[in-house]
Each structure stands twice: as C-alpha cells, then as structure tokens.
C-alpha cells in the first residue's frame, strides 16, 4: 500500500529524533521503531527522513484557486500542486470565482475538483452574500449542509460593509458553527485606492489606501461579534492599529481570530517604488512599523494564523500600468520560507509555534479535524522541512499556473522537502511524485 510505510529518523520541533509508522493513511505508532529487528520484513516501504524536521501539513484558510471561471490564472489542480510544493495539505478555496461560490452547487463543484486532484484537501469557502454584492445573504445553511460542508464564509475581495447585513451573517452562522471571515476595507475610504497611504504614496502619486479603512471595519466587527456572541475571523490583517484592536478584543474574551499573510510579514510599501505591479496587493503592503507589529502580534498569538491569500494572476494582468493591474500575489509555494525569514530567522518564534500558527490553529478555526496534529491515531498529513537550506525563488519554476510571486530571485531560508497527504507521498524534493489520493 502506498499509504503504509515507516518514516525513520524524523526530527520533532523539540529536537528529538523519532520514527513514525503509517498504516492506511493513519499514524499508528511514533517512537523508536526502526531499531526493531523485524523492521525490514514488516514494512514494505521505508522512507528516510534524514533527521529533517517533521511538521504537521500546513493549512491555508485563504486561497484563491480561481476555478470555476478564471482557469487561465489557476485551477483547483494547479493550485493543489502549488499547495503541496509549499507543504500545505489543506487549502480553503475563496468564493470569488465566476460564478461566485454562493450556492451549494458551486461549493460542491469546487470540493469535487479538489477530490479529483487528490493532492490535498480543498475546503470551499462560501460567499456571505449573493454574488459577493453585499446586498442579500447567500444560502449559507444550504452550503453548510451540502457535501462540501462549508464552515467558513467570506466575501473576500469585497468587504461586507453593510453593518446590518454583517450582524445578520454573524448571527445566522451560529446555527451550524460557521465563522464569518471579513475582508476589512471600508469602501468609501478606499475609492480608487492603489497602495498604502503614507509617505511613499505621496511621493509616487498613487491613491492611498489608509490604515484607518481597515481598522474602522475591524473595530466595528469586533463589537458586532461581541454583541451577538458569534465568531469573527479577520482576514489578512495588515496594520499596527488592527493588531492592537484584536489584542484588545481578545483581552475582553471576544471570539475573534485573525490572520496575517507571509507577504505582509516581509514586505513594505516601499516595494511600490519602481511601479512593478507584482507588488500590488489588497490590502496593500504597509510600513515597516506595521510589519514589526504584525510579527509581534503573530509571535504572541494576537494573530492566530498565517494565511497565504494566494492570488494568481496571468501575466497580462500585471504587465501594465500600476492603476490598471490586478491586486494580488502568489503565496503557497513560498509561505513557509517567508514566515521562517520573518519569524524564525529573527528569533521571534520557535518552530513549534510556527506549526501552531500555520497548521494547528487554522485547522481548528476551519474545523479541519484531519489536519494540524501529529499523533497516534491522527491522519498522516505531514511534511518534512530542511531547516538549514536556502533557496532562490524562480517564478518560472512554480507549480502554480501564474508567476506573480513577489519573491522572484530572492533567497529564502528553509525548504519543504516532502509532503504526505493522507499517508501518500505527493511531493518529494521539489517534484510532484505523481501519486494521489483516490
């Protein structure tokens, strides 16, 4: 069986070396197993981890897979390929497809495409409002009760700015344990916005996207979530003020979680100098002060998770004037390395905290029970990481269908060596193995 094997000499976050036995896609034993005399006979397949770091498979709660509708940029299959190369065993497909994932039919289609790809779990996110228009609720319960079992709902790309509709959504999803993931962007304060409003935008003459447009919505939604006693998740937090608001909310016991993207942990608005639209993203790259606050927030747990906001775009959507270019950048294949650069190389975070923020915590928020843990009885979704490697990002060598990575030609630390999904080695040493779960 492809999904039964012995993995020998893997390193845990605490430095201990261990073996791992997987049977039918489940971890059945952890410990000093390879020493047993009958190992060779008992295990048909033995993988040697060579003392590389064993982490639970990464879990992304914010992934644009573009299918249906924008298959020129990405498909569920190519997105899954990019995911496993980046060490993800679960991704969450955002709803802003065409047609919008606002009905049971569309979310089931996306889930089915994910199963057919068979490389990682693809959990569809449902739109909160019909057509992402912010006017009327989509059939949230139907999506929750569909085969896709949607639990996260988001109008991402658009902010659900109507406060009454936001309140209703927060209340309504309580019936089935859902969570509302808000793209916090006050629309009137960001009309025509192109980049962070500040010194750099004033010099470049690009319309500003002020921090207050994000923070005012976060503040409002925290209060709404408290008022109706529901769960709120803040997508891609980018500002120092936003971190402080979430920190306050948590101190009050309000049920709010927040995410940060790898690019917001590593890049600043000065990347826009030169007008290379690769660096155009929504919400925008902020100042160094914000970056430091985000890192501190992620380290102390104010920010619960890292999410990629993987947003593929074809070349023509980026090879143009800044104003005309699309917002968004790739994330899946560089996320782990970017987080290592921002958090571990700077000694702000340990590897076990990284595993928490990139795997266990997002799995818990999404209710993805087969992810986020390595233990006897858990599903064999895990990865091996060479923590000492450095590598140079090359946009022409990505698995994604698009090439809009902001890290092209940049050297980054740590490399995902292999990815096991339900006990199947789907990615090894940068290459897809051709194996899939069926």
């Amino acid at each position: 069986m492809k999904n039964s094997f012995l993995l020998k000499e893997a390193r845990l976050s605490d430095g201990a070396i261990t073996d791992l036995e997987v049977r039918n896609g489940q971890i059945v034993a952890i410990g000093n197993l390879a020493d047993a005399a009958d190992v060779a006979g008992k295990h048909e397949v033995i993988y040697d981890a060579k003392k590389n770091l064993l982490l639970p498979g990464l879990v992304d709660l914010h992934t644009h897979l573009r299918q249906p509708g924008k298959e020129g940029a990405e498909t569920v299959l190519t997105g899954s390929m990019a995911a496993v190369r980046g060490g993800y065993t679960a991704v969450s497909a955002m709803a802003n497809t065409s047609p919008v994932a606002d009905s049971a039919g569309v979310v089931e289609q996306v889930a089915r495409l994910g199963r057919e790809a068979g490389l990682c779990d693809v959990f569809p996110i449902g739109a909160i409002t019909q057509g992402l228009e912010g006017k009327a609720l989509a059939e949230l319960s139907a999506m929750a009760q569909s085969q896709a079992q949607v639990r996260i709902f988001s109008d991402d790309g658009n902010c659900l700015s109507d406060p009454l509709l936001m309140r209703r959504a927060l209340e309504y999803v309580k019936a089935f344990g859902g969570v509302i993931a808000q793209h916090a962007q006050e629309p009137r304060l960001t009309q025509g916005a192109q980049m962070n409003e500040g010194v750099t935008s004033s010099v470049l003459g690009l319309t500003g996207w002020p921090a207050v447009a994000e923070e005012s919505i976060i503040a409002r939604d925290i209060l709404l979530a408290h008022h109706v006693q529901s769960r709120l998740h803040i997508c891609h937090l980018t500002t120092k003020g936003g971190v402080e608001l979430v920190r306050w909310a948590k101190s009050q016991g309000i049920n709010v979680t927040a995410e940060v993207t790898p690019h917001h942990l590593l890049l600043t608005d000065e990347s826009a100098i030169g007008y290379d639209a690769t660096f155009k993203v929504n919400p925008p790259l902020r100042t160094n002060d914000d970056v430091q606050a985000l890192r501190d927030g992620l380290a102390d747990g104010t920010i619960d998770i890292v999410a990629t906001d993987h947003a593929p775009h074809p070349a023509e959507a980026k090879e143009c004037e800044w104003n005309a270019a699309a917002f968004g950048m790739l994330g899946l294949e560089t996320a782990l390395s970017a987080v290592v650069e921002a958090m571990i190389s700077t000694k702000k975070m340990s590897w076990s905290t990284l595993a928490e923020r990139m795997s266990s915590a997002p799995a818990k928020i999404g209710g993805y029970v087969e992810h986020g843990a390595i233990g006897v009885g858990s599903t064999a979704n895990f990865i091996l990481v060479d923590t000492e490697a450095t590598w140079t990002v090359d946009r022409t060598k990505v698995a994604s269908k698009s090439q809009n990575t902001p890290f092209h030609s940049r050297s980054l630390p740590a490399r995902v060596l292999s990815t096991y999904y339900k006990g199947i080695l789907v990615h090894n040493d940068g290459q897809l193995t051709g194996n899939k779960y069926e």
């Binding site: 010194v199 004033s202 010099v203 470049l204 003459g205 007008y275 090879e319 004037e321 104003n323």
Partner: protein, 314 residues
C-alpha cells in the same frame, strides 16, 4: 542621462546643464531661422494617452526646431480604445522607428514602466504621469524663475516659492517640490488639508492651510489648476469658498511683494484659482512659461539624443 522620468533622477549638475543648454538654444533659435539640424533623421513620438494640447504642441515644436521627425499618437480614436495594452502600443510605435518617446499617461508610473520594463529600447521622456510627476514642467518653471531673478543664476537660494492648490493630485507640485528644493529655494505648499497628501511631511517643504499667512513673503506664487472633478467629491464645499480662501484674488494680488511674480502651468480657471486681474497683471509670467517651455524641451531632447551645442556650432 538615458531617460527623463523624474526630477529625482537628476543631479544638480544635470539640472543646470539642462537649464543652461535651454538658454543657449533659446539664443540660437531666436533669430529668423528657428531650426537646428541636430536631430535630423531621428524620430520622436508623442505618445499621449491623455489630452494635453499644450504639452504636446510644446514638445512637438521643440522636436521640429531640432529637425526631428515627429509622430503624434493620441489615445482617442486609436487602438487603445480597443483595449490595446501599453506594452503593445509602445512596441508598435518603436517598430515604426521611434528613437525617443514622450509619454503622457493618466496612470502614475507609466513612463517608468516603459523605460524599465525592457519592452522598448527607445529613450523615454515623462510628459506627465498621473498624479506623480511632470519633470519638463518643473524645469521650465525653474528656468522662468531664474530669468526673473538674475541674481539667482546658479541656484535659487533665498527665494521663497509658494505653490497653491490641489497638491494631492498635482504632478506639477511633486516635480517642482523636488526641483526647487534641489536648487536651494524655500518652498511652501498651500492647500486645504483635503488637497494635501498625508505624507507631505517627507517632502522637505513647508506647508500652510492659510494663503494669507504666506503670500506677503512669496517671491513666486505658483497657482495650480483645480480640476473640475474635485468639486463633486467633497474636497471643498464650493467653488466660491475655494476661490475665497485659496484663489489669487485682487486683494491677495495687492499683498504681494513688489517684484514677486505669478506662475500657472495652465490652463487657467479664471475666477476660481486665479482672478482675471491676477492672470492679466504684469506680474503674470504665464506666457513666458509657455515660451520657455519650448526651449527647455529642446534642451531635454537635445541632451537625451546625444547632441552637444559645441559640436553643432563647429
């Protein structure tokens, strides 16, 4: 100097070289024969994605006085309206033999993109990109100021230049802030806070929300055009209130220093940012700006395409 994209790319020496070259060219072409053979056989393209009759005509006449061939491209009625990308348009025109492209575009950074993307090899001159920069305008403004204050030939130290209006959306203000500072002048930007960028503190200029506070100290008052679309977007409550607080009214005209001059990049909104009396007063150097614009743009083309005044004379 390969391209002229931003004042920021110029050293003080480059600026003085452009201004001095412009002065020489103005002399040479002030006679009955206004043409020099310098750029014969070279092709200059006016690539205008935004309406701007005066800037285009100024560059066109500058190029023609240097004997260059000029191709005019304007986005209206062109393939751009059919959805052609900037890249395709520029490559198409280069394929027709363009040596230099003068680019006017509604998007900030468009000229930078053309110059740095590797799409084309031609030299690029930024003739105004969105709300970013308009370097040739700032250079002609500096030239005009220098002409009026001959004591300040090498730099503008000691002069106080007050720029009034929609600083937020003004490429003229951005280029002038950079250039006038480089030349040592004191610069004050005057506008309601709604029309001033939040990051302006990084520009190294003074700011004021009260025109009356600074007009008496100004050696140069530069009025910026207020675009009509600002009025409908609550940047200020009404034209009347704007004109009262930030317009160069008759009363403010009377407050100016005896030798102070009035500048405007044009076209003027008479009665809004500038009263008719101010526009037509002897202090107004608006038409000189237009005239100097041709000389300065000649100098820019001349220097970018490798001409040298000495070589032409011999």
């Amino acid at each position: 100097m390969k391209n002229l994209l931003s004042i920021d790319d110029l050293q003080l020496d480059d600026v003085l070289n452009i201004l001095n070259t412009a002065k020489e060219l103005a002399k040479v072409t002030s006679g009955p024969v206004k043409k020099l053979p310098t750029l014969r056989g070279r092709t200059v393209v006016n690539l205008f994605f935004e309406d701007s009759t005066r800037t285009r005509l100024s560059f066109e006449s500058a190029a023609k006085r240097l004997s260059a061939d000029v191709i005019n491209f304007s986005a209206k009625g062109s393939s751009v309206s059919k959805g052609e990308s900037l890249k395709d348009t520029a490559q198409t025109l280069e394929a027709m033999g363009a040596d230099l492209m003068i680019v006017r575009h509604h998007a900030s950074g468009a000229a930078h993109l053309l110059a740095n993307s590797g799409w084309i090899k031609a030299t690029v001159v930024n003739a105004g990109d969105g709300t970013h920069e308009h370097p040739s305008q700032a250079l002609l403004d500096a030239y005009t100021i220098r002409e009026h204050f001959p004591d300040h030939h090498e730099n503008l130290a000691g002069l106080h230049i007050v720029i009034v209006g929609d600083i937020l959306h003004s490429r003229v203000a951005r280029s002038n802030a950079l250039l006038l500072k480089k030349l040592g002048a004191k610069v004050t930007m005057v506008a309601p806070a709604t029309l001033m960028p939040l990051g302006i503190h990084s520009w190294g200029v003074h700011t004021s929300h009260t025109f009356d506070e600074v007009i008496e100290q100004a050696d140069v008052v530069m009025m910026l055009r207020v675009q009509s679309e600002r009025m409908s977007d609550s940047y200020f409550p009404s034209e009347r209130e704007y004109a009262r607080d930030y317009g160069l009214t008759l009363a403010r005209l009377a407050m100016m220093k005896p030798d102070a001059i009035i500048m405007h990049p044009g076209p003027m909104n008479r009665g809004l940012e500038i009263s008719g009396a101010a526009a037509d007063s002897p202090r107004s150097v608006v038409l000189e700006q237009v005239k100097n614009g041709v000389s300065v743009r000649m100098a820019i083309l001349y220097l970018l395409l490798g001409g040298s005044i000495e070589g032409d004379r011999s």
